[in-house]
C-alpha cells in the first residue's frame, strides 16, 4: 500500500543505485581538494582526508542505522535519538563560540530544543499530518535539518552579539547612564546578531529554485517523488528552518542578555572584555 506523498520517493523505488566501486570514484574529488591545498600551501590535506573519511563512514553507518530505526518504528527509540541530536547540536553550538562562559550550554540547549520542538510540532501536527506522530521516516530527517539550522543560526547570533556589545560598549554605557534598561541598551547588538543569523537563510530563500536546488528536494526527485510533492516538502522545510533559526537565535540572545548584564542593568565587563572595568 503506497504511503502518502514523499514516502514513495524515500523508499527509492525508481532511483538508480550507485555501486560501491562507482561511489569510490568520488575520491577523485577529494584528490582535487588535496592538489589545490598542496598547490596553495593551505596545509589542509590532513583535515581534508579525515573529513572525507569521517563523512563517508558516518553516513554509511547512519544509513544502516536509519534503516533499522525505520523498520523498528517505536517512539521510545525515536525520542532518545532526537534528544541526542539536540544535545550534540547544543554542544557544537557552544564549541563554535569564542570564550563561552559558564551556563551557556544550558542556554544553547533551551534555545535549540524550544525552537526545534515548536517547528517540528507545527509541521507534523498541522502541515504534513503524519498518521503516526513519531514516524522516524519523517521525523528524523526533518528534525536533522531543523535542529542543524537552528544550531547554526543561534551560534552565529551568539558570536555576533558578544562582539557587537564589545564594539558598542561606550554606546551601551551611555544608554544605561541615561536611565535605559539593559534590554533597550543592547537593542542594536541584538538587531545585528539576529540579522547575522537570519541573512544566510533569507539569502538562500531568495535564490531557491533558481540557483539553489536544495539537497532534500533533489534527493526526493532522484528517488522518484513527483517534483510537485518534492517542492511542497521543500517549501515546508525552508520556511520552518527560517522560523527555527529566528526563534533559536532570539531565545539564545535573550538568555545571553541575562548573562552579559546584571539584574541591575549593569554590564558584566568581565564577560565582555578582558576583565578590566572602568578605569
Amino acid at each position: 500500500m503506497p504511503r502518502i506523498g514523499i514516502c514513495k520517493g524515500w523508499v527509492m523505488n525508481n532511483a538508480i543505485d550507485i555501486p560501491w566501486f562507482q561511489l569510490g570514484l568520488c575520491s577523485v574529488f577529494v584528490m582535487m581538494l588535496i592538489v589545490i591545498s598542496l598547490y596553495e600551501s593551505l596545509r589542509l590535506e590532513k583535515t581534508i582526508l579525515i573529513g572525507s573519511f569521517r563523512a563517508a563512514v558516518q553516513l554509511i553507518l547512519v544509513g544502516f542505522l536509519i534503516k533499522i530505526i525505520f523498520d523498528y518504528k517505536q517512539w521510545y527509540v525515536v525520542m532518545p535519538i532526537l534528544f541526542v541530536m539536540i544535545v550534540v547540536a547544543s554542544q557544537t553550538l557552544i564549541k563554535w563560540l569564542k570564550n563561552p562562559v559558564k551556563g551557556m550550554y544550558r542556554y544553547a540547549l533551551i534555545s535549540v530544543s524550544l525552537a526545534s520542538t515548536f517547528s517540528l510540532f507545527f509541521v507534523f501536527s498541522l502541515v504534513v499530518r503524519i498518521p503516526v506522530w513519531y514516524d522516524p521516516q519523517y521525523l528524523i530527517p526533518v528534525a536533522g535539518m531543523i535542529i542543524a539550522n537552528g544550531m547554526n543560526g543561534a551560534a552565529l547570533a551568539g558570536e555576533r552579539y558578544k562582539s557587537e556589545i564589545e564594539i558598542r560598549l561606550p554606546e551601551i554605557e551611555m544608554l544605561l547612564s541615561l536611565g535605559h534598561d539593559s534590554r533597550t541598551a543592547s537593542r542594536k547588538p541584538r538587531q545585528q546578531a539576529l540579522n547575522a543569523s537570519l541573512i544566510p537563510t533569507l539569502n538562500s530563500m531568495m535564490v531557491m529554485g533558481i540557483v539553489h536546488l536544495p539537497g532534500m528536494m533533489t534527493g526526493q526527485i532522484i528517488a522518484g517523488s513527483t517534483p510537485v510533492t518534492a517542492v511542497k516538502y521543500q517549501i515546508v522545510i525552508i520556511l520552518s528552518i527560517a522560523a527555527t533559526v529566528a526563534i533559536a537565535s532570539w531565545v539564545f540572545l535573550s538568555l545571553l542578555e541575562k548573562k552579559y548584564f546584571t539584574p541591575h542593568h549593569q554590564i558584566r565587563y568581565e564577560l565582555i572584555t578582558s576583565g578590566k572595568r572602568g578605569e
Binding site: 544608554l175 541615561l178 536611565g179 535605559h180 534598561d181 542593568h265 568581565e270 572595568r277 572602568g278
Partner: protein, 233 residues
C-alpha cells in the same frame, strides 16, 4: 553656604576586580547641594570607576553609597541614573541628528510636555542654538559633541552630575564655554557635581572642594596646586 546634608555620599566604599586587584579601598567622600567637588588623580587610579559606582553602573565590592541619605540599593537603578547622571570622558553620540540624540533619554511617547522649552534652554546653556538640531552627529566637532552630550545628560534634570574628564580633547575656547555652562548649571539648577580631571587650570576654575585620589583612597586638599606639587600629578 552649602546645605550640610550630603546629596551623594560614599561610606567606606571599596572596589576590586574579579581577579582580586584593589582599585578603591574604604573610600569615603560626600557631595553636598550646589557643590562642585573636583577629584584629581593620575590615570589608572580608579577615577572613572568611582564615578560609575556613584550612578550604579558598577557595583561596589564593599561599603555603602547614599543618595539623599538613602542607600542606592533601595532605589531602582533606572530611576537613580536619571537623578545621578554620569557623563563619560569620550562623548558618545548615535548616528542621526542632534535632535534625535537629545531625545535619547526619553522613552517613546513619554516626552515631557515642556520638551521644546527644555531643548531650547539646554542648547543655550551649552553655548549652542536650535540651528544645531537638524545637524548630523558626524558633522560636529569634538567640542560640539561634548556639549551636545552634556546637554543630553542635563535634559533629564539630574540632581548630581558625575563628569569624567569632560575637558579631554577640548581646545581652550571649548573648555571656557564648558566651564561657563557648568558654573551656570550649578547656580541656576542647584545641581551638584563630582568632576574628575587631571588638569590644574580646569580644576581651579570649576571646583569648590578638591580631593586627591591615590592608592584607592581620597584625601581632601586646600588648593589643587598642592596636589600637583606634592602628589606629582
Amino acid at each position: 553656604m552649602y546645605n550640610e546634608q550630603p546629596l551623594l555620599e560614599f561610606r567606606d566604599v571599596s572596589f576590586r576586580y574579579n581577579n582580586g586587584e584593589d582599585v578603591l579601598h574604604k573610600l569615603s567622600l560626600a557631595v553636598r547641594e550646589k557643590e562642585s567637588v573636583v577629584i584629581l588623580g593620575q590615570s589608572g587610579y580608579g577615577k572613572s570607576t568611582l564615578l560609575k559606582l556613584g550612578s550604579r553602573l558598577l557595583e561596589a565590592s564593599d561599603g555603602t553609597i547614599l543618595y539623599k541619605g538613602i542607600n542606592i540599593h533601595a532605589i531602582s537603578p533606572l530611576v537613580l541614573r536619571k537623578e545621578i547622571a554620569y557623563l563619560s570622558q569620550t562623548p558618545c553620540l548615535l548616528e542621526g541628528s542632534v535632535e534625535s540624540n537629545l531625545l535619547l533619554p526619553f522613552r517613546k511617547n513619554e516626552f515631557p510636555h515642556d520638551l521644546r522649552e527644555r531643548i531650547s534652554n539646554i542648547l543655550m546653556l551649552v553655548g549652542l542654538n536650535e540651528s544645531f538640531l537638524l545637524r548630523r552627529s558626524h558633522e560636529l566637532s569634538v567640542g560640539e559633541k561634548q556639549r551636545i552630550a552634556l546637554a543630553r545628560t542635563l535634559i533629564n534634570r539630574p540632581s548630581v552630575l558625575l563628569l569624567d574628564e569632560p575637558n579631554t580633547a577640548l581646545d581652550e575656547e571649548n573648555i571656557r564655554i564648558l566651564i561657563h555652562s557648568l558654573k551656570h548649571i550649578i547656580q541656576r539648577d542647584a545641581i551638584s557635581m563630582l568632576v574628575v580631571t587631571h588638569q590644574l587650570d580646569f580644576a581651579k576654575k570649576l571646583g569648590n572642594r578638591f580631593l586627591v585620589l591615590k592608592k584607592g583612597r581620597v584625601k581632601e586638599i586646600e588648593c589643587p596646586e598642592s596636589a600637583f606639587a606634592k602628589d606629582g600629578l
